[in-house]
């Protein structure tokens, strides 16, 4: 492949940034391992990865949406709705497969709903999903009368807690999904089209790309991924909880943006997002180990969101400056 230093401006910026993210991740790990003796243990690291893997599965869906220039903040509410739906089916039938199908179906329905409101209704996706976030959370509350539904099939817990070759099952699932979607984004037509639409949707439309269709597809795909993370969450909670996933949307979005995925679409990588999620996961884990009150976690999370968006804005400004400089020559 031909390479020029200038031509790879954006790539080099992301590479440079990803190097910075790796360094940040290592630094945070070192700090926590000094502060807490239980941080650098196999048990804790497995635990962190298990926790992060839920964010990663949902995060992939969020990356796809953000690359398109869209967003879905109903992901947190969906964690509850999917948990309730799958645990209800599980308890009624005793079948984990049917419970999984119920979970995925719920994800498809919610993705379709969001996608149709955005593409057919022309509603801004932040507002549209702000609405569905409340609706889905509300439905969960109504259906359960705000009472958690316990799981009555003991094998179900194995999904979240189980291990394969010493590796937690959720970690294996999320790793497989990361590899699969890395391939989709970088080597398939669908991936190319997502970047193009997010970069300039009008140009994409005029170049003959089925913009609305792809947006709808990605909303549904993201819904399915959100449902999968919710399914595993339900297994870990061993219940369908109507309050599950509160604040999850902010966690996912902050981590992904921290990882260099632009809010305005068309720019970002899955590997960067993965680093962002690991950083946020490690910080949360470290705070727990240091016995910091969970109220402080919210403060840290808020600060991370602002930092992430600030970095995104700065990135955009630098890119614009660079373009201006090159066109002025």
């Amino acid at each position: 492949m031909e390479k020029t230093s200038k031509g790879h401006f954006f790539k080099s910026i992301t590479r440079f940034e990803q190097a910075a993210l790796v360094i940040a991740l290592l630094a945070i790990c070192i700090v926590f391992s000094i502060l807490s003796s239980s941080f650098m243990t196999v048990l804790n690291i497995t635990n962190v990865l298990r926790q992060v893997s839920l964010m990663v599965i949902a995060g992939i869906g969020m990356v796809l949406l953000l690359l398109l220039g869209e967003i879905d903040i109903s992901v947190g509410s969906l964690q509850a709705a999917v948990g309730i739906a799958s645990v209800t089916v599980l308890n009624a039938t005793g079948s984990i497969i049917l419970a999984l199908l119920a979970a995925l179906a719920t994800g498809v329905v919610s993705g379709l709903l969001n996608g149709i409101i955005v593409t057919k209704g022309g509603v801004n996706s932040f507002i549209a999903t702000l609405g569905t976030m409340a609706i889905i959370r509300g439905i969960g509350m109504v259906v359960t009368k705000a009472v958690s539904i316990p799981v009555r099939v003991p094998e179900f817990a194995e999904i979240g807690a189980g291990q394969l070759f010493g590796i937690p099952v959720p970690v294996i699932i999320s790793a497989a999904l990361v590899i699969f979607f890395y391939f989709v984004l970088n080597h398939t037509i669908f991936g190319r089209q997502i970047y193009a639409i997010g970069g300039n949707s009008e140009a994409a439309k005029l170049a003959g790309l089925p913009v609305q269709k792809i947006k709808l597809q990605v909303f549904v795909l993201a819904g399915v991924l959100f449902a999968l993370s919710a399914f595993i969450l339900a297994s870990r909670l061993d219940a369908g909880q109507p309050i599950a996933g509160q604040g999850f949307e902010m966690q996912v979005i902050a981590a992904v943006i921290l990882g260099g995925v632009s809010m305005s679409g068309g720019n970002g990588t899955l590997s960067g997002a993965l680093l962002g999620m690991l950083i946020l996961g490690v910080i949360q884990n470290g705070l727990v180990l240091l016995n910091v009150s969970s109220f402080y976690h919210d403060i840290v999370r808020g600060a991370v969101i602002i930092l992430a968006v600030y970095l995104d804005e700065r990135r955009k400004k630098n890119a614009a400056k660079q373009l201006l400089r090159s066109s002025n020559k």
């Binding site: 193009a196 005029l206 170049a207 790309l209």
Partner: protein, 493 residues
């Protein structure tokens, strides 16, 4: 006559990292003279203007104003010395009134209290001078571009400008508005104001200017009296070689009807019918806002149709799906390249293949080596100047970007109709001729081309048939050879 120049630049050099942007450039401006500055993109015109207006400082050479060293270090000092620049992209503040925009840097006041009466009176006086009939309190954002430009000129006059620099002033104007601008320029001349005029439109320069200075690749080529040159001579000075024929069109025997539009109606287009045969170039002439772009958008299904049909090779093109139109072989090269054409954050390769990705698919994966091969071939065939196909498209010149967008559709196997909207807007002369050549060759391979253009010479020389549009309707059809500038204009207004 020979005495003092209003402005003189002698042997000026300017370096940027890696670029020798100006290499010994000379330029003089007399009182009451329109002095045009021409050259291809990257020739150094903008750099010279930026030096004159204080944005950049010179590395080497002399810059004199009325025979004395200019000592201009900042844009503000340039304005104080009577130099005003009217940029291509206007710099007015949209939510401020005409009067405020004109006077905001020097509001007439008594001890800090603004004399609004005086402001509005002066504004009215200046407005009548340039023929602008508006309320001075009107917010500038509500004015059309042509009127905003007049406000810019008034602003320059109110700052007592002795030298006015106009950078592509007519690129967004209709013919009427251009005429008014020409009239104003003549008045400014008679007041002894010197005007530096930059434009890609050579016919306009030949009509308006007294002298012309040609730059090429940062070098000073020559300064000539306008009366002594022809357009061909000017072009060859700009590109450094003889352009035998700017317009290579050799009409070929038209084939079957490929594109047929019947009674197409949208919110902006009324009952338009026409057809295009294989091997034909059909032009759409008219003023800006005549509905030509909207017609193109309706054909490919990007805008809603109210009624009417679009047929390609006997099959109806769906009304609301640009992907279906593309699949049926219609490509559209948009007018607004920057906002509607390119994917600025992507490289040349990804920009070029986005519409033809299916051709590079094996099972599920895009075959990178096939893709690279095809892109490299296109880069070679269309003479796209770039160090690498991985270069960001936004780093290319306008002409090369346009070639990439053209290639986007030319590399498609099933392409039958190409609609190209303002094919050479903002493109320098050399690349223009190349694009005409490409279009001509394509028709010989059986492509049907629809060319929307506001440039009369281009449409008259390249098209086999010409439709004229006005207010969303087709008002005339001409065969090649029948049409003249006057005829097209009379049907467009």
């Amino acid at each position: 006559m020979e005495g003092e120049f209003l402005l003189e630049v002698k042997g000026v050099h300017k370096h940027f990292p890696g670029v020798h942007a100006l290499n010994g450039v000379n330029f003089q401006l007399r009182r009451g003279e329109v002095h045009a500055l021409v050259g291809e993109n990257g020739a150094g015109k903008s750099t010279l203007i930026k030096i004159i207006s204080g944005v950049h400082n010179i590395d080497n050479g002399e810059y004199l104003i009325e025979g004395k060293p200019a000592n201009i270090r900042t844009p503000h000092e340039a304005i104080e010395k009577g130099i005003s620049v009217i940029y291509q992209e206007l710099t007015l503040i949209p939510h401020m009134s005409i009067a405020e925009n004109i006077f905001f840097s020097h509001l007439p006041n008594t001890r800090g209290k603004v004399n609004w009466k005086e402001v509005y009176e002066k504004t009215r006086e200046l407005m009548s001078y340039v023929g602008l009939d508006e309320n001075p309190r009107t917010k500038v954002g509500y004015l059309p571009v042509a009127k905003q430009q007049l406000v810019e000129i008034i602003k320059a006059l109110s700052a007592n400008a002795k030298i006015i620099i106009m950078d592509e002033p007519t690129s967004a104007l209709s013919n009427n508005e251009i005429e008014n601008l020409c009239r104003i320029i003549k008045e400014l001349k008679s007041k002894g104001i010197g005007i530096i005029y930059i434009s890609h439109k050579l016919d306009e320069i030949l009509e308006l200017s007294d002298r012309i200075t040609v730059l090429r690749d940062g070098q000073y080529i020559d300064t000539v009296e306008t009366a002594d040159v022809t357009q061909d001579k000017l072009v060859s000075m700009m590109v450094g070689r003889e352009l035998k024929d700017m317009y290579p069109r050799q009409a070929c025997e038209p084939g079957e009807v490929v594109l047929e539009v019947k009674g197409l109606t949208t919110e902006k287009v009324y009952d338009v019918s026409f057809n295009v045969r294989a091997g034909e170039i059909v032009g759409f002439s008219g003023l800006m806002g005549a509905g030509r772009t909207e017609l193109a958008r309706a054909i490919i299904g990007a805008d809603k149709r109210i009624s009417g049909q679009v047929i390609v090779n006997g099959k109806a093109v769906p009304a609301d799906a640009t992907d279906k139109a593309l699949e049926m072989g219609i490509g559209y090269v948009p007018e607004d390249r920057k906002n509607h054409g390119i994917f600025a954050q992507c490289c040349i390769r990804k920009n070029m293949t986005i519409s033809a990705l299916k051709q590079f698919k094996n099972t599920v994966k895009i075959n990178r080596s096939n893709e690279t091969l095809s892109v490299n071939k296109m880069v070679e065939d269309l003479h796209i100047k770039t160090p690498s196909i991985e270069q960001l498209i936004s780093k290319l010149s306008g002409g090369n970007q346009q070639k990439v967008i053209l290639a986007r559709f030319l590399m498609m196997n099933g392409i039958k109709v190409l609609i190209i909207d303002e094919p050479t807007r903002g493109i320098d002369v050399g690349a223009k001729a190349e694009i005409y050549n490409i279009l001509d060759q394509l028709t010989h391979q059986g492509l049907a081309v629809v060319m929307i253009s506001s440039e009369m010479p281009e449409i008259l020389s390249m098209c086999d048939r010409i439709y004229v549009m006005k207010k969303g309707r087709v008002t005339a059809e001409f065969k090649r050879g029948e049409a003249t500038q006057e005829k097209l204009l009379s049907k467009a207004i």
